[in-house]
């Protein structure tokens, strides 16, 4: 089931979705499997067979889930103080291949681009596409830059990029079209960890500039 709230990147809408996501996970209905928040939508995965068996007067599991969600969304629930409100600091060595391009296209110096990128606290709207890939926003309008016309065949894990109003970090080596402005020594996805993903929807993220020496000291890759 998909709940949809439009087609925009808006923190108020997203926080409503995250609140609903948390609520359903804390007090689920029997047959609830999991929910997946995105920018403006929430997908709810459920076990149709279990719901139809558990509630014999329901002829449609979908209707049952729909009613449940409508009811809980009327209850007052907010993102309560927990891990999702933490500010995560991400050190970045700003030497990305597209840093000069981003600077020149906005008629800024590289230093100004770095200050603008580190000067905002970003909201994590969702993780998706890859394990641990966090979609963060919104980037200062002075450095908003669209994706590259021709994606690179390989972007290294740890690369920090900009795509439109979004900023993000590649958890794996992969092809990619984001404008790469730097790289972080942190491993944002680690399969060996109990919590393999560093960033989750609802987190706040601050980038800080480090130099090459510090990068090498901190390098987890």
């Amino acid at each position: 089931m998909l709940l949809s709230f439009g087609n925009i990147i808006d923190i108020t809408v997203n926080e409503k979705i995250l609140a609903l996501h948390q609520k359903i996970n804390t007090t689920p209905f029997p047959g609830f499997i999991e929910s997946v928040p995105a920018y403006t939508s929430l997908a709810v995965f459920y076990d149709t067979v279990l719901i139809r068996q558990s509630y014999s007067n329901t002829s449609s599991a979908f209707d049952f889930v729909k009613d449940f969600i409508i009811n809980i969304s009327k209850e007052k629930s907010t993102i309560s103080g927990n891990i999702e409100k933490d500010i995560i600091t991400i050190p970045v060595y700003y030497n990305g291949e597209d840093l000069e391009y981003v600077a020149s296209v906005h008629q800024l110096t590289i230093e100004e681009v770095i200050n603008l990128h580190t000067g905002t606290t970003y909201h994590v709207y969702m993780t998706g596409f890859f394990p641990g890939f966090a979609y963060m926003g919104t980037v200062n309008e002075k450095i908003v830059t669209p994706r590259k016309d021709k994606p690179r065949l390989n972007v290294a894990a740890g690369s920090v990029g900009i795509a439109g109003e979004q900023t993000g970090i590649y958890p794996f080596d992969s092809p990619g079209g984001w404008q790469i402005i730097g790289t972080t020594p942190l491993k944002i996805f680690d399969k060996a960890k109990h919590n393999p993903c560093l960033l989750k929807a609802g987190h706040k993220v601050q980038f800080t500039m480090i130099d090459k020496n510090d990068f090498e000291k901190l390098n987890e890759h």
Binding site: V49, F129, P131
Partner: protein, 321 residues
């Protein structure tokens, strides 16, 4: 006690019914492409449905069994043999000590499942034994099976008399009936299609191109247009989601799909038809049949009844309550 991979075939992986509760971290559920065949294979081998199995494509693996082992083979018919002797599918089979199982011909279907009584040793990652090839976790060291790989299995303490073993054939064949007609419901972005687009989707045949795999089936066919060009923010998708790409062609997301996407989701294949879809080989055609959500649910309930009946029959065979 173990089995040994003599030849790995084109892609053999250990899978179970998938990894739930981690989609919101971008970790997709993965798992078997055909949950019906995999579940039945497990039941026939005296296992519960969620035990890890080996999923194979054609050319398929050749596997050596160190000791007498109870197995079952379900899904695609790849002409299973022990040397020259045919091995019956959808039946408990005892492979004798030092015999090798191989698959000689691609008769029908696209994925075959080997279930072994007692299951097999595999890496558990985030509550599932399914192999995640992106992350290299789960299954057999997070990798496809290779030549010389050894997989530990349970000592076979059970005896099974398969002489009178019987499953109603229609309980299997009904799942794969009308193999080229794939039922789906309208997707969240269905209304963004032009009238022509809707017609083309419903009335035309599409070919499963060679760029199709466990992540998705790229289809080729008549162009499907939107009312207006649009750019969507990323949102969740699932196994069976039919996306419309900017080149007006379709892709159907399969078991190893990514968790979110930015392309219009115009339809979603119904869960009950995912096994059928999973068994369509490359270069075959399919047609989409739009159904209501109610029909989709009812089809799944019916399939589940079949599975439950098969499970009961198998439990009796193994003397399990």
């Amino acid at each position: 006690m173990s089995i040994k991979i003599i030849k790995p075939g084109i892609l053999a992986t250990i899978q179970d019914l998938g990894r739930t509760k981690f989609r919101s971290l971008g970790i997709g559920p993965g798992g078997v492409m055909d949950f019906f065949a995999a579940s039945v294979a497990n039941y026939i081998a005296g296992n519960s449905e969620d035990v890890p199995v080996i999923e194979m494509h054609f050319p398929a693996a050749e596997i050596l069994f160190e000791e007498d082992t109870i197995i079952s083979i379900c899904g695609a018919d790849f002409d299973a043999r022990i040397y020259d002797l045919p091995v019956e599918m959808y039946k408990p089979v005892i492979i004798q000590k030092n015999m090798a199982l191989s698959f000689k011909a691609n008769f029908s279907g696209a994925r075959v499942y080997l279930a072994i009584h007692g299951g097999m040793q595999a890496e558990k990652w985030l509550n599932s034994y399914s192999t995640n090839l992106k992350v290299n976790a789960g299954g057999h060291n997070g990798m496809p099976l290779h030549k010389e790989d050894i997989i530990e299995i349970q000592p076979q303490t059970q005896e099974v008399n398969n002489k009178y073993f019987f499953i109603e054939p229609s309980s299997i064949s009904s799942v794969y009936n009308n193999p080229h007609s794939i039922r789906c419901v309208e997707g969240p972005e269905w209304e963004m299609l032009s009238e022509d687009g809707k017609q083309h989707f419903s009335k035309n045949e599409f070919t499963i191109t060679s760029q199709s795999d466990r992540m998705g089936y790229r289809l080729a066919g008549k162009n499907i247009s939107l009312k207006n060009s649009l750019s969507l923010v990323s949102s969740p998708v699932s196994f069976g989601t039919v996306q419309l790409l900017p080149n007006e062609q379709l892709i159907v997301l399969m078991a190893d799909h990514q968790t979110t996407g930015g392309y219009p989701r115009i339809a979603n294949v119904i869960t009950a038809d995912l096994p059928k879809l999973a068994q369509l080989p490359i270069n075959t055609k399919l047609k989409f049949e739009l159904v209501s959500l109610q029909e989709a649910e009812d089809a799944l309930i019916t399939m589940q009844h079949s599975l439950a009946a098969i499970k009961t029959t198998c439990k009796k065979l193994y003397g399990i309550n």
